[in-house]
């Protein structure tokens, strides 16, 4: 958060991703744009099936090759469009340029390889000797807060607790000093007390390395204390984006308002919960126009037309929402 370089390291423009569903291709990410600068944290928020994970995978070229494809848009990293590059090109970017931390460390780690080997794998592939790799792995594991790091190099993932495994994942992602780290639900599988430790660790590491951080999450609370800006996704589109506090205090999209009202809050006495009617739509048959239309409380005729992201308030570039009514008097 300290010093945000105004020039983005990673910029996504109009990204569109399609997945194969029985016969047809279904669009799960539709015209998503955002950017991250060095030292900045962006939270991509959404419910299950909002396209947030597909977006994250696209940033690393990790979409399943047969069943998914990027059909449009640009992923600009260091001025280079990653979306257009070959598999070889992706290998050069992954790890060194963009790193990733997955949600479930148990299935993302190799159960048959020692933790030390997995942490140093990327370094050894780039020519570091076995000895030096081991030393580097120990240093990384220590940095992410694993006690007795040297003594645990030869341990296997099952010998670590959930929180410790997530630390190992972070060490692997950091080994090649990425300039941007994508963390997909990094704390969802963890207990609250451990969740707080991991979020703090990610922030400390970011402050130290100055990397850009993209947190993909469904939890508006977890990111509230860490992110500088947010992009709220619904049915594959960004429906609202902007500085976190602006969006949380002055939500402009009915979906964002609904979400913020429907979260149970620890700090308030029990009241009857506000709800959003219905359920998130199915990608195979999205409603025409605004996909939030069937659940929206202020739906009107013009909502059958797709709303564009428009600026809210004075600084029109920062806080934007995709609603025909956004920027008007509100309720």
């Amino acid at each position: 958060m300290a010093e945000i370089n105004a020039h983005p390291i990673l910029e996504v423009r109009d990204l569109t991703v399609e997945f194969r569903a029985s016969r047809a291709w279904v669009r799960v990410v539709d015209g998503v744009s955002f950017s991250v600068c060095a030292g900045e944290t962006l939270a991509v928020l959404g419910e299950s099936g909002s396209g947030k994970t597909a977006t994250g995978l696209a940033l690393l070229g990790l979409l399943p090759r047969r069943s998914a494809r990027v059909t449009g848009g640009e992923i600009l990293f260091n001025g280079q469009n990653l979306a257009a590059q070959s598999a070889k090109g992706w290998q050069r970017v992954r790890g060194t340029g963009i790193g990733m931390v997955f949600q479930d460390p148990l299935s993302a780690l190799n159960p048959l390889q020692s933790v030390g080997n997995q942490v140093s794998e990327g370094l050894r592939r780039r020519g570091l000797s076995r000895q030096a790799g081991r030393a580097a792995a120990a240093e990384l594991l220590q940095k992410v807060g694993i006690p007795d790091a040297t003594g645990r190099l030869d341990d296997y993932p099952h010998q670590f607790s959930g929180g410790m495994r997530q630390r190992v994942m972070i060490a692997i992602a950091l080994a090649l000093r990425p300039r941007v780290l994508v963390a997909d639900e990094p704390t969802t599988a963890l207990d609250v007390t451990v969740q707080a430790q991991i979020m703090r660790l990610l922030l400390d590491l970011q402050r130290e390395t100055g990397m850009g951080l993209i947190l993909i999450s469904h939890d508006l609370g977890v990111v509230a204390e860490t992110a500088d800006k947010v992009a709220i996704m619904y049915a594959g589109r960004v429906v609202e984006s902007g500085p976190l506090r602006d969006v949380y205090e002055n939500p402009a999209h009915p979906y964002t308002r609904g979400l913020l009202a429907a979260i149970p809050r620890l700090e308030t006495r029990p009241v009857r919960m506000a709800t959003i009617p219905g359920a998130p739509p199915d990608f195979a048959n999205l409603p025409a126009g605004c996909s939030y239309r069937p659940r929206c409380y202020q739906v009107a005729e013009r909502c059958v037309q797709q709303p564009a992201l428009i600026g809210i308030g004075s600084d029109t570039l920062a806080h934007r929402a995709a609603c025909h009514f956004a920027g008007q008097s509100g309720e």
Binding site: S48, M164, T193, Q195, E225, T275, A279
Partner: protein, 350 residues
């Protein structure tokens, strides 16, 4: 204290699991998954059991419905001791005690229609609903949980997660229970749907006078649902208190750490809130720390905490807490003001 007979009463429950070793899987010892757990749930009341994974909260639930056998302790359901009940009485209890699980995808049989799933209880327990009434009764239940009649002939895969959880609730209601165990029943749902299910559970409770054992790790949800909160750590209840007291003034250091770790939605509105980040992970139940099981992570642990197990002591305002330091602060003659915030001010907080 008691205005009404509790629906469920648990006393000194202990559940131990065998530890097996070697090629013959010989039993080499036992681990206590749950020990000394006692609580009452009164009609129309919700008791929330909270704690981290491995704290034993689901084990308690599984034991109540008979999926695990207790090694010690007494479970009394509507005045009858479960261990001494006859087969017939146990059938009756099963009818009156239902469970709603966490995963609405795994807990519904994919090859049965919604009508079959809901009416299965009537098949097992004849006499609740006459056979010729089944169809209309299924429709009534579907309406009650916010679905509609035409859903009865569909299969579970045709529903979203929230709708499936509604079906699971309708199934639980079918046998006209008095008591429902909700084991993380809203944890797997999206925020926008979670609130709908919380409201539904509360409406049903008011309408039917149900009692809930609400097992959850999300304290914000617990705040909405619970009348009484019990916090478990390594198989023991470390604090139990009425909802308001617990959230306004948590006593046990673990409860305080747990509450402080819950991320606030708008942290800038609560600059006074400080985070207590605990070190390390919960210890393994196979090798629990001696004395107070929490002392290895506690910032106010004293020497006695390392060898004396603190008892769950009754404190003012119906609170129970198992902590030496808290008990001292409340002891008569103590000159520490009886305000737990001052008692528990963490010294190692960041």
């Amino acid at each position: 204290m008691s205005e009404q007979e509790p629906v469920l009463s648990v006393r000194d429950l202990r559940i131990s699991f065998p530890v097996r070793c070697g090629p013959l899987r010989r039993i080499v010892g036992h681990v206590d998954g749950v020990s000394n757990v006692s609580f009452d749930i009164r009609p129309g009341q919700t008791l929330a059991l909270v704690g981290e994974s491995g704290s034993g909260k689901s084990t308690v639930a599984r034991t109540l419905v008979g999926l695990e056998k207790p090694s010690a302790g007494v479970i009394t359901f509507r005045g009858r001791d479960v261990a001494r009940a006859s087969k017939r009485e146990i059938r009756q209890m099963r009818r009156e005690m239902q469970m709603v699980f966490q995963d609405p995808f795994g807990s519904l049989n994919p090859r049965k229609t919604v009508a079959d799933i809901i009416s299965e209880g009537w098949f097992v327990h004849p006499g609740i609903v006459a056979r010729n009434q089944w169809a209309s009764e299924v429709d009534k239940l579907l309406l009650k949980v916010g679905l509609s009649e035409h859903h009865a002939k569909r299969f579970p895969h045709q529903f979203s997660g929230g709708q499936r959880q509604r079906i699971a609730i309708a199934r639980a209601l079918a046998t006209r229970p008095r008591f429902i165990i909700c084991d993380e029943s809203v944890a797997a749902l999206d925020v926008s749907v979670q609130a709908q299910i919380i409201n539904l559970l509360q409406d049903l409770q008011r309408e039917l006078g149900l009692s809930y054992l609400f097992i959850a790790h999300d304290l914000s949800v617990v705040r909405q649902m619970a009348d009484v909160v019990a916090v478990m750590y390594l198989g023991r209840i470390v604090e139990m208190a009425p909802q308001t007291q617990f959230f306004d003034n948590p006593l046990h250091p673990y409860s305080r750490a747990l509450l402080s770790a819950v991320p606030l939605i708008e942290p800038w509105r609560h600059p006074e809130k400080r985070k207590i980040v605990l070190n390390g992970d919960p210890p393994s139940p196979r090798h629990p720390p001696r004395g107070c099981t929490f002392h290895s992570r506690c910032w106010q642990a004293e020497t006695r905490c390392q060898d004396q197990v603190p008892a769950l002591r009754a404190l003012p305002e119906d609170c129970l807490c198992a902590c030496h330091v808290v008990a001292d602060a409340f002891a008569p003659g103590s000159n520490t003001p009886v305000n737990c915030r001052t008692v528990n001010e963490p010294t190692r907080a960041p």
